[in-house]
Amino acid sequence: MDYSNLRRQIIFMKKSFFDQGYLDEQFNQLEELQDESSPNFVEEVVALFLKDSPRLLINIEQAIEKYPQDFYRLDSLVHQLKGSASSIGAVRMKNECSVLKAHGNDKNLEGCRRSLQKMKREHATLKQKLESYFQLLRQVGPRNSAVNSRK
């Protein structure tokens, strides 16, 4: 296997995440936390996020559809999602949360809906990108974890 090629791919991919604004500094922080005692830390954390966030998205959708007047509840749920997105540095999602919150504050239900749809798309995109990324990483193996933890 051409590790150097793979490594280049990985590097390039990661760079694109940052350049295109999908991820921010927090992601680097996670990589710094990765060490011998938890060699797959970043992947685990991301997996956790990707697993938990759909629930939050559903909650938000439910709040909009079932409790359209309860903007307080909506705000609280969006806040949760925002916090979660910040954990891995999912900046696009985080920003979209702010937009959604703003709509909620304006009691703009339609705006909330649109924002939520956008959020779902962002989430799906991010999920796909990150999963590809980690797949690549797995291919190069732990030996190349230097790629990840390099600061």
Partner: protein, 576 residues
């Protein structure tokens, strides 16, 4: 202590509470990397159970603010009350109001998400601080040994110098004790921070006993003798006495405050702006005093409630007595500052622009007119003062002028800035307010400038105890905490409260020559010469004291509302 003191803070036992599993995992990893012992929990209620069950098994708790099953602030309160552990709040929301709320509920810190490891590395300071506090409380006078132990324990630990500093202060203090003891007119007061004396419950009790026996007006030397405690100096006693008086005054004030509650509200809003006004008026004021004090005309109503948890009452504004409007320099301010505003810290002035502060010129004295805050009583109170203080207020050294702590003057106690109508205070600028990062510079300045005056409570009984244990004889407020600040000990974030107990006795304020017709002396033309306040080194409230005061006040009272943002300033002011 659970964590090994010799390798503190390694092994610090942390409980992390967060409903977000991702964050929980990240935080756990971060804390583990700091060599802490981590327990995670996704629910607030579960966290409480864990804590209740194993209270002694944790050193600190970190919790998110927004949790589904319980409000983070509520959890915070519970923990503070039941387990008395330091709690750090976290949130992605860094809005001031939220942070303030955290502080009000007793959080010792508030971190913003995404939390960085470097922030977590330092959380041990909250634990340490709390322990220091407790050690002091329990051991009081003899705590230096324990502190030594703690210190040595930390020696290998070079994270922050603060602890080392604190310890070395203590050590230095011990060494200097003998030297100081003999030094009555010690110029120490004028020097920068001195090592602090820890006023343990025990020590304070002796102090109070002595004071009760002989009264405030005898002076610290006699109190010291009566106390018969080796190792403390007259300066220590003097400064403690001052605080005590202030404290009592504050308590008094508190009572009055409650009555004036509503009125106060109105004023409090004005307070802040008034401060600013004051400042400018100060600056604009032509120096009436020979020394060139620009603000002489400020009338300062001293209220001792600095320590009071009712910080909200204190505004760092010049408490201009309603009665005395003749002070025009700050008339505008005064008016708004109406006495009705029973702000304890009436005396706290935001001398932001006071040249006094800037100049650090001991000879510059700020003449302040102290008036009690009491709504409605000010002028009267004020009138009384001149009689008293004259010739008595040797601010620092001798509290002869201070009345007994019986709060005979309803408004007086706690008059920080007692009416010696013109308290010329040469703000001893040793106090370096810049250390107070939390306190606005103005306050610090204020404090500094006021400090001399503060101690010179002409007839005020209240020596505000900022950080000493005050056993209130006249009030029902009992002191249980040693470190004196009952108010303080509640929060974890109290800094080394006693750190700065410098013998502020060097306040060379000699009010002996205060003119007698002071009643309304707005500082107008009080000839400095008359006042004879020369070397004012009044209290140097150490920065930490200030901070501590501030903090403790915050936590102490739930009534504390958002307006408190101004309060810290005031607090600092007094304790400058």
């Amino acid at each position: 202590m659970a964590a090994d003191a010799t390798v503190f803070p390694y092994g610090l036992r942390v409980l992390v509470v967060d409903d977000d599993p991702t964050w929980l995992k990240i935080l756990e990893k971060m804390l583990r990397k700091c060599s802490y012992e981590v327990t995670t929990c996704g629910l607030a209620r579960v966290a409480l159970e864990i804590l209740r069950e194993r209270k002694s098994k944790f050193d600190i708790v970190i919790s998110d603010v927004n949790m589904p099953d319980m409000d983070g602030f509520k959890l915070l309160e519970h923990i503070g009350l039941e387990m008395d552990l330091p709690v750090i709040m976290m949130s992605i929301d860094g809005e001031t109001s939220r942070v303030m709320k955290g502080v009000q509920h007793g959080a010792c810190d508030y971190l913003l998400k995404p939390v960085r490891m470097k922030e977590l590395r330092n959380i041990w300071q909250h634990v340490y601080r709390k322990r220091m506090h407790e050690v002091k409380e329990i051991e009081g006078h003899d705590s230096c040994d324990d502190l030594q132990i703690l210190r040595y324990g930390f020696e290998g630990f070079d994270e922050k110098g603060i602890f080392i500093t604190a310890d070395s202060d203590t050590t230095r203090k011990r060494k200097d004790l003998d030297k100081d003891h003999a030094d009555q007119d010690s110029s120490d007061g004028a020097t920068a921070k001195k090592a602090r004396v820890v006023w343990s419950v025990d020590l304070h009790q002796k102090f109070v006993n002595a004071v009760n026996q002989i009264g405030f007006d005898i002076g610290p030397k006699k109190i010291l003798d009566l106390m018969n405690v080796p190792g403390i100096t007259r300066e220590n006693v003097a400064s403690h006495l001052q605080k005590y008086r202030l404290y009592l005054g504050r308590l008094q004030k508190q009572n009055e405050e409650r009555i004036l509650g509503a009125a106060r509200q109105d004023f409090s809003n004005k307070g802040t702006s008034e401060n600013l006004n004051l400042r400018s008026s100060f600056q604009d004021q032509p120096s009436n005093v020979s020394s060139g004090y620009p603000h002489a005309s400020q009338k300062i109503q001293g209220q001792s409630s600095m320590l009071d948890s009712q910080l909200e009452d204190t505004k760092c504004t010049v408490p201009l007595p309603a009665s005395d409007k003749s002070r025009n320099s700050v008339n505008d301010v005064a008016d708004s500052q109406n006495v009705a505003d029973a702000s304890p810290l009436s005396g706290v002035l935001s001398f932001k622009g006071l040249p006094v502060n800037q100049d650090n010129n001991p000879s510059e004295t700020m003449i302040m007119e102290c008036q009690t805050w009491n709504g409605g009583v000010p002028s009267k109170q004020f009138m009384q003062y001149p009689k008293h203080n004259h010739a008595r207020c040797d601010l620092l050294g001798d509290y002869a002028c201070l009345p007994k702590p019986d709060l005979e003057h309803p408004a007086a106690p706690g008059n920080f800035f007692t009416p010696p109508p013109l308290i010329s205070m040469s703000c001893s600028m040793e106090l370096d307010a810049r250390n107070f990062s939390d306190v606005k510079p103005a306050l610090l300045d204020c404090i500094k400038s006021l400090s001399p005056a503060l101690t010179c409570t002409v007839d005020s009984v209240s020596v505000q105890l900022s950080d000493s244990v005050v056993t209130s004889t006249s009030s029902d407020r009992k002191f249980s905490t040693v470190e004196g600040l009952p108010y303080f000990d509640q929060t974890n974030s109290q800094g080394p409260l006693f750190r700065s107990q410098e013998p502020s006795t060097t306040c060379g304020l000699d009010l002996a020559s205060l003119p007698e017709d002071l009643p309304s002396y707005p500082l107008q033309g009080v000839p400095f010469e008359n006042i004879g306040l020369s070397s004012i080194d009044l209290f140097h409230y150490n920065d930490t004291m200030l901070l501590a005061g501030l903090q403790s006040n915050w936590y102490d009272d739930q009534e504390f509302i958002s307006e408190t943002t101004d309060y810290p300033l005031m607090d600092g002011c007094l304790f400058a």
